[in-house]
Symmetry: C2
């Protein structure tokens, strides 16, 4: 039983906590909050032990009627591993605290790559965890790109990948974000940091990325071009991708035309919080012109790194092989969204949302 603490119960942390709690080989010891807001209340409602991330704020929680089990320091004393889900940059500040407690740590992709011994994606770089004392689960966009490029590189070889990322402006709960009514080059320079970040997972893949920000909240959209060494048919690429458990091919007949319908579908099939842990690849978009593959995929920024964090815990703390960890994570959460409308590309199990 791996005893896990989640430091930072926000957009990612609350999802990682739920995912850890669903693992037979893990125990969620507790989660931390800095302020006694609705998130802290929700943690207690779920039965999670709440620790206060800033020592002298325990009184604020008590005053709000929220029971606190202890401080971050108490949590670190009680766990085998901590998953840092704090906002970007805070993980770096927390590192010395984790090290002082001798607790292995998993960081998120908002931190610089140098924060941890290795950058982690279950599909692209599971083996880097061997001998590491800390891991960084790469960001949602890098996770989405790594999951897609790894099988393409293995099957056909990648000469060069070029991706335009149309990023969501903010999460649904982030009312202070923008833009409104604009598509903003961000950064205005090319390439964006995403390509180099992919190389922390897939070091040999030549990839250039250009990033924009759009006034949407649900998902990121990637317009992907990959010049392959081989020249497979679009159908062959579709079959290859459909065989990946964390890639969902949106079937033509499903009537799904955007992120809104995707999220609506996820909610309809019972996904907690309407989460899409899988890359969502538009099956109709998969096209091959010569050796140039094109496709669109959507990435749910709140959710796709969640199963990766679970695998990162197992990779860091045990000798579990990749295939076994991924299978256990996927089965416990219900990862592997297959539409009943799909055209038979995949032999995966139907969705088991309540597992």
């Amino acid at each position: 039983m791996i005893r896990v603490g989640v430091n930072g119960y926000g957009t990612i942390g609350k999802r990682v906590a739920d995912a850890v709690a669903a693992q037979a080989d893990m125990e969620l010891v507790g989660v931390t909050k800095t302020t006694p807001n609705y998130g802290a209340e929700a943690a207690i409602r779920r039965g999670y032990d709440l620790y206060v991330a800033i020592d002298d704020r325990a009184d604020q929680f008590e005053a709000a009627g929220l029971k606190v089990t202890g401080t971050l320091s108490d949590l670190l004393d009680a766990v085998d591993v901590v998953v840092d889900c704090c906002p970007s940059g805070i993980g770096e500040r927390n590192r010395s605290i984790y090290e002082a407690h001798g607790v292995p740590a998993i960081y998120q992709g908002g931190e610089d790559a140098g924060i941890a011994d290795a950058s982690f994606n279950a599909r692209g770089s599971y083996e880097v965890a061997r001998g590491a004392d800390s891991l960084r689960v790469v960001s949602c966009n890098t996770t989405g790109l790594s999951r897609l490029l790894a099988p393409l590189d293995e099957a056909y070889g990648i000469e060069k990948a070029r991706v335009t990322l149309v990023r969501r402006g903010g999460d649904p709960s982030e009312t202070d974000r923008g833009p409104i009514n604009d598509v903003v080059p961000d950064p205005r320079t090319v390439p964006s940091h995403h390509g180099p970040d992919v190389n922390t997972v897939l070091s040999d893949v030549d990839v250039d990325t250009a990033a924009l920000r759009a006034p949407v909240t649900a998902m990121h959209t990637h317009s992907v071009n990959v010049t392959l060494d081989g020249d497979p048919s679009a159908a062959a690429v579709g079959a290859l991708l459909a065989d990946e458990s964390r890639l969902f091919l949106i079937p033509e007949g499903a009537g799904i035309d955007g992120a809104g319908a995707l999220k609506d579908y996820a909610a309809d099939v019972g996904r907690p919080r309407g989460d899409l842990w899988e890359n969502c690849v538009w099956e109709e978009s998969i096209s091959v012109e010569g050796r140039d593959l094109y496709l669109f995929q959507n990435v749910h920024q709140e959710a796709d790194v969640v199963p990766e964090n679970v695998d990162a815990i197992r990779a860091l703390m045990t000798d579990t092989p990749r295939e076994e960890s991924v299978a256990r994570t996927d089965e416990s959460l219900g990862v592997g969204l297959d539409s009943l409308l799909s055209d038979g590309n995949s032999a995966r199990s139907p969705l088991a949302a309540d597992d």
Copy 2:
């Protein structure tokens, strides 16, 4: 003096009418409307003779207090050339009417390429007008791509261009358009029609396009990759593009971060309707990795085809050489937006908004 009629006084038509009226060698005989709405009133306020596009509706205009000079048929009898600015598909229905009156016609890019003898872009295919009886000015996106790719192909040779178009959902006045809070693959298949449409102007350029639609109204955004035959520096590409009168390089120091600021700037410098006739290329984005050029550009869907329509009239009706027509159009309208903040790449004249 070329006598010009504009059939359809909508988003494009009203701008083309103003541009024609500003030419020393052209006379705007009149414009048509189908309904007596605010656009019809605005035409009369500007002193344009109003013709009713649907014969039996003259009474509606009179009832609304709007003086009508005649019908479309009357307009066609009074002009040397008609510019069809009707909604997509209506041009095709109008073709037999123009032919019955023996009037050469210029259509817009929403029509199929087969509607006219040739597809026109002043930078990419001015010479196609020789001997033609009709022209189709390609769409705003195709115009933007043609203006960019033509000089790159001439200077360096294009091995392959790959463009993701993040299209505006609708114009500011189109309240019935979408999407809201979504980025929609449109079409979901790749390539979109834009690449083949570029080939109606630049037949030899290998170009694949993928298109999305975003909840914005101001401009289209293009994420452009061009694999060149040569490997120029980014600065050399910047200088090449800055030398094109219908490309505006947005300088780094200008504080322009998106389409909203671009339109605001256009209004500040006195552009009618805040129009941007030029492609707006983000100077900071111009990057070369090996032989791969990357850049972002914005295209004002309401405006960039307007100078092209003026040149199309001259190309179709006279023997004016390209350089002379473009120079006259640009000078009369004030095309050639140079920021005072630009870094000296360009030797073009400063903006003359009131010309």
